[in-house]
Symmetry: C2
């Protein structure tokens, strides 16, 4: 199965904060218009990003902002913040291999280190990409034009 869209939505959120922070208050409604999902979905994600120390949110008055420099936030930070992997493991292992079978007994300890090896390769690549990199890429595609909502 695919990794959930929370990851790409979270990156979208950061991109909006970075692009519009000087001109607009970044509320869940503002983000919902750009991402085109329900504002409550956004708020839950914002909560996860806040809990991970990546953004700050103002209650009441509203608005999200970056808690770190764009160079200091990696895609791995974002992935870990929004993707709740069971026990931190990317791969789901079948639960009950038969301990009375020589393979059933050994498959788990043997495979675990290999699965970790694969997961680490993915995480290392995620860690090598920062929001700064993403924002540079975006700058090639867009100039700051008129925002979409005038509310």
């Amino acid at each position: 199965m695919q990794i959930s869209s929370r990851f790409t939505i979270a990156i979208h959120i950061f991109s909006c904060i970075n692009t519009f922070r000087d001109e607009y208050k970044i509320t869940s409604n503002f983000l919902a218009m750009s991402i085109q999902v329900n504002p409550v979905i956004i708020r839950k994600l914002l909560g996860q990003l806040k809990d991970a120390g990546l953004i700050e949110i103002k209650r009441g008055s509203g608005g999200a902002s970056l808690a770190k420099k764009t160079r200091e936030i990696t895609l791995l930070d974002i992935f870990n913040a929004v993707e709740s992997l069971d026990d931190g493991r990317l791969f789901h292992f079948h639960e009950n291999p038969n301990p009375d079978c020589p393979i059933g007994k050994s498959i788990h300890p043997v495979l675990d280190s290999r699965l970790e090896q694969i997961q680490r390769a993915m995480e290392k690549e995620m860690q090598s990409i920062t929001l700064e990199d993403i924002f540079k890429d975006i700058a090639k595609y867009t100039k700051k034009t008129l925002p979409l909502n005038q509310v």
Copy 2:
């Protein structure tokens, strides 16, 4: 979300075939006893592995066997055989970013290449590990002892 257990179950299947092929007919029931899942689950997986050209299955008389050398089957081959990723993509992208927003318009083309970059890092690591490697690891944990079923 985690990657489904079909992946680890498939590796378990290969391990059983390799270990018991000279002594036992590797049926879905035999495998189900070692893996401890329903035989129909096993049969569906065996079908996927057969379609990918990794194993051979005998109808009627029954039994699965390797279609290639253990050096020639990588974890990536197995992953691709049993994990049906939508459009081959590991990451699910939110469907409808707003094209009227500068970020909404650019997020998809910009992120796509980065997501591919991450996926490729994972696939490269999977490709570097063959069944031969796994079977060597297993050999350190187990000697061929009495099989579990006498049926």
